[in-house]
Symmetry: C2
DNA sequence: ACCTGAACACCGTTCAAGT
DNA sequence: ACCTGAACACCGTTCAAGT
């Protein structure tokens, strides 16, 4: 019962409510676009774009741990306080960065049928999420409704609609696909399952042997397969299950 | 080109490598269990369990923002330095908390057939992830291979094995299910899609109208359905797609 | 309108010194 | 062996004052 709850309300309280949406929300993006239109930047001055650009450099070169407001300001040879004219908080900056990387997802499907095109899109999206330097904690902390995420949603929705799904079914298929891709990438990046299975070979058998004898009966029998499966194999099979489901439930209901 | 990259290597470097696994890894959990066995706690003293318990209280009462090492120490009426005898870092503490909440997932399936039982397990897991106070960024930042996660994996694996799947197929089904549930919960908690759809009704139409006319063709036609879909509906349909896929691919391949 | 410089109110973590 | 107290090296954010 000490005084750690007497602290003043966080600064974000001022921004929330009616003033501006939560970073990442549709509202926040809309207001951000409107504000950008109003702004008349003086030449050579700062801008949100320049702040984000500098942040990307810091992130790429020094990693997420080093991505501080002060480091970004240093890179721009200005004071940390100056950045708050262009971003409202560090959180906002991270949302901007997350959406930026999603912009690297390529959308041209090739037109080899809806199923092949959806698979290509899912693989592309996964690869971007795995390669991008934000840790899953930061990249997925706030759902992003920015323009680059909308591009992907639009592409997926379009493929399912072209395949003959109703609006509702295309919605479910798209949202499920996005949930799966994000979850798979986050767990892999978080250390859950690597390219060569859940753990190294030594560690795997050691782990398997350390399981208490009276617990985890299924892991005792199928645990070797579970620990050995690579993230790529799991992803490929997950896509197959999901798209089989789309076919059998939304396209060819018996 | 300032001096922010001249800082000393982070303290975690000392712990990584051969000394101890990354928090959350199988290795880390094993070493943690071994260390707990060696320890002979004096009565009335601190312990990892007491530290975690205090952290859970702080988290529940004051939220994640207030979950600092110092606040946990205050709650235990000790100094912050003292906690480092029992946890190696704040990150470790968060992994311990994440696994703790996964322990609330109930496993009794009811035996109404594999499909109903898997659905129950998925819903239960989702609910725990949604209700627990860690933000998705913290809860999913590190994949957790702790005892409580293994319980869930074991249960899922067991249901799929009982249904007649091979070890490999049960592995794919289980891992895909976990990826989907985590992704869905993280995106919902992050603000992506709420109980009443992606946004409020007003915001939804406003957002829809603000879409540029020459972009997002699919969102223009199916966007209303996409934004209106509730998180519950998306989850229910996602489960159906996934389990349909399991049936058609792993149980009744034509 | 935009930026500087300095301050405010914190952090996680370490470590000599005590018991 | 475990804990205290104090310090180290940082943080994000605010704001008067300048231009």
């Amino acid at each position: 019962m000490k005084d750690h709850d007497e602290r003043p309300a966080p600064a974000s309280a001022k921004m929330s409510g009616t003033e501006a949406g939560q970073p990442g929300s549709t509202r926040w993006w809309a207001e951000r676009a409107a504000a950008a239109d109003r702004r008349r930047p003086r030449t050579g001055g700062l801008s949100t774009a320049r702040v984000v650009e500098a942040a990307l450099q810091v992130l790429r070169e020094c990693g997420f741990e080093a991505l501080t407001v002060r480091a970004v300001a240093d890179r721009l040879e200005t004071s940390s306080g100056a950045l708050y004219q262009h971003i409202a908080s560090r959180d906002e900056l991270i949302v901007l960065i997350a959406d930026h990387y999603l912009g690297d997802v390529r959308l041209q499907g090739g037109g080899r049928g809806w199923r092949a095109d959806v698979e290509t899109l899912m693989r592309e999206m996964r690869q971007i999420l795995l390669d991008q330097p934000l840790p899953p904690s930061a990249a997925m902390g706030k759902a992003v409704w920015g323009p680059n995420t909308l591009r992907i949603i639009d592409a997926a929705l379009g493929l399912f609609l072209d395949a003959g799904l109703t609006d509702e079914h295309a919605t479910y298929a798209t949202a499920t696909m996005i949930d799966f891709v994000f979850g798979a990438a986050a767990i892999q990046r978080g250390g859950g399952r690597g390219p060569n299975g859940a753990t190294g070979t030594d560690e795997r058998s050691q782990f398997h042997n350390s399981l208490p004898a009276d617990q985890f009966p299924a892991l005792r029998t199928a645990g070797a397969a579970f620990l050995a499966a690579s993230a790529d194999d799991v992803f490929t099979n997950g896509m197959a299950l999901l798209l089989d489901g789309v076919t059998s439930r939304f396209l060819n209901p018996h």
